[in-house]
């Protein structure tokens, strides 16, 4: 049931995530884009995107994430950055760096880019390029050196999973040398293209615990020099993540064709209609649309969430994960230890990492699952037309 909302009591979104294209030269095996990608000819025009940013700023948006796909695939990116900044937005660019020349970077900085997040797949070129499906690692290192020359915020993002987590310390050492103020370590989340690759990517509990220990020590060592941030992967957590800070509470995502989504993965929820910015204003979509109201507040909650003390902390977890794992988007996120379906998650994890054996190699808790040694069978993300 939709919760009645009133624009005066329901503040606007704080951040806008603009997936300006789904095109990308990389084919990352854990890409968060939906399996059904938006074709180039359906992408919003420059003017339409600028209109979205203007409306967002009026609605109270402070931060804009320009992401994709690879946002650099849009030839009008400099223009989009300039227009966003002119509207008072704080402009983040989330990029692989592929397609970023020194000249284009200087133009983006000149246009008002505030912050750039550059992702890495590994510390070693071989596996990094395998996970990305492209020879990209060396180019990323080169572009990182260019980024560090500019006075903008710079975050290095490291994506970890079963097949690279034992090189976490090497990855951190690499990131430390790139001149970033921030390092973000992201255990893969199981949405988009990571779902068909889940069996290859899910880490073991030992790996996760070892990684959290490494990260806690690195955070202490880097204090005051580099801000290190990370989150516990929720398949191994006791309680679910406060997904998107609550449905329709803080964030609005616009996909390449202009559809407004409460989160990246919302399309996995059947029967939910999404509004397009070509038909409706952002303010109406945020406060009035069925999709943004569907899981807002607490009215929709089922037990055990409905009477749980944590319902205002994690909002019942992730609706898309509930859909994917429980087949019901209104269920308690099955990763929650209070969910009746938690055993199913444990079984999924156990199946994915079955075949673990003690290794003499040491490293990640001296436990290397056989699946890590065996060759992976990846589903690579495609490039839309």
């Amino acid at each position: 049931m939709a919760t009645p909302t009133n624009p005066s009591t329901n503040p606007g979104p704080l951040a806008l995530i603009a997936e300006i294209t789904h095109r990308c030269p990389l084919h990352c095996v854990y890409c968060s884009n939906p399996l059904e990608l938006t074709a180039r000819e359906r992408e919003l025009s420059t003017a339409a995107w600028i209109g979205v940013f203007e409306q967002g700023a009026k609605l109270g948006v402070m931060q804009l994430d320009l992401t994709g796909g690879e946002p650099l695939a849009r030839p009008d990116l400099v223009e989009l950055v300039r227009a966003s900044r002119k509207n008072g937005l704080y402009v983040n660019l989330i990029t692989s760096g592929i397609g970023l020349s020194a000249d284009r970077l200087a133009e983006l900085v000149d246009a008002g880019l505030d912050h750039l997040q550059l992702s890495f797949q590994d510390a070693e070129a071989g596996p990094a390029d395998e996970f990305a499906g492209l020879t990209a690692h060396g180019k990323k290192l080169a572009i990182a050196r260019e980024i560090a020359k500019h006075r903008i915020g710079f975050t290095v993002n490291l994506v970890v999973h079963r097949r690279n987590v034992r090189r976490l310390e090497e990855m951190l050492a690499m990131a430390e040398g790139l001149g970033a103020q921030r390092i973000e370590v992201a255990h893969v989340q199981y949405y988009g293209w990571a779902v068909p690759n889940r069996g290859e990517l899910l880490p073991t509990r030992e790996q996760v615990e070892w990684s959290l220990d490494v990260l806690a020590r690195a955070q202490e060592r880097l204090r005051g020099r580099i801000r290190l941030e990370y989150v516990t992967p929720d398949y191994y957590a006791r309680f679910p993540k406060a997904c998107m800070g609550g449905w329709g509470q803080k964030l609005m995502l616009i996909d390449p064709a202009g559809f407004a989504l409460p989160c990246h993965a919302a399309r996995v929820i059947p029967g939910l209609q999404f509004e397009n910015v070509g038909m409706r204003g952002l303010e109406w979509i945020w406060s009035e649309s069925e999709s943004f109201n569907k899981y807002r507040g607490e009215e929709w909650m089922e037990e055990p969430c409905r009477s749980c003390d944590r319902r205002a902390v994690d909002f019942g977890g992730c609706r898309c994960q509930a859909q994917m794992l429980a087949g019901d988007a209104a269920a308690t996120d099955p990763v929650c230890s209070l969910s009746p379906l938690r055993a199913k998650v444990d079984a999924t994890v156990a199946e994915a990492v079955r075949g673990g054996r003690v290794s003499e190699a040491g490293g990640a808790g001296e436990f290397v699952p056989v699946a890590e040694v065996a060759e992976a069978r990846w589903s690579y993300r495609l490039n839309p037309r």
């Binding site: 008072g88 983040n92 505030d114 500019h150 903008i152 915020g153 103020q181 921030r182 005051g224 801000r227």
Partner: protein, 91 residues
């Protein structure tokens, strides 16, 4: 890192103070935004690389006469230290 009397705090790359009409002053950072008012805002306005920590504290003390100087010093140092650790400030 705790500032010394001679530290000259300034905003780190990727951070800026936004003061728009009809809006609360906000420190914009890569990881989010911090709404500012009162002494917090006043301190951030002085984080321009020209003012020393000592000068920032002295200015606050002048304005808040009834407050304890040592407490102003400690609170300001803690505030700056926290922002430095978030990599929002350099000094």
């Amino acid at each position: 890192m705790r500032p010394s009397a001679e530290s000259k705090p300034h905003l780190a790359p990727g951070c800026r103070l936004s003061e728009m009409p009809n809006q609360e002053a906000t420190l914009m950072m890569p990881e989010g935004a911090l709404k500012l008012k009162g002494p917090g805002l006043q301190i951030l306005r002085s984080c321009d690389g020209n003012h020393t920590f000592q000068q920032i504290v002295d200015a606050l003390y002048k304005q808040y006469q009834q407050a304890n100087l040592q407490k102003i010093e400690q609170d300001t140092a803690t505030f700056l230290e926290q922002l430095q650790e978030r990599r929002a400030l350099d000094f």
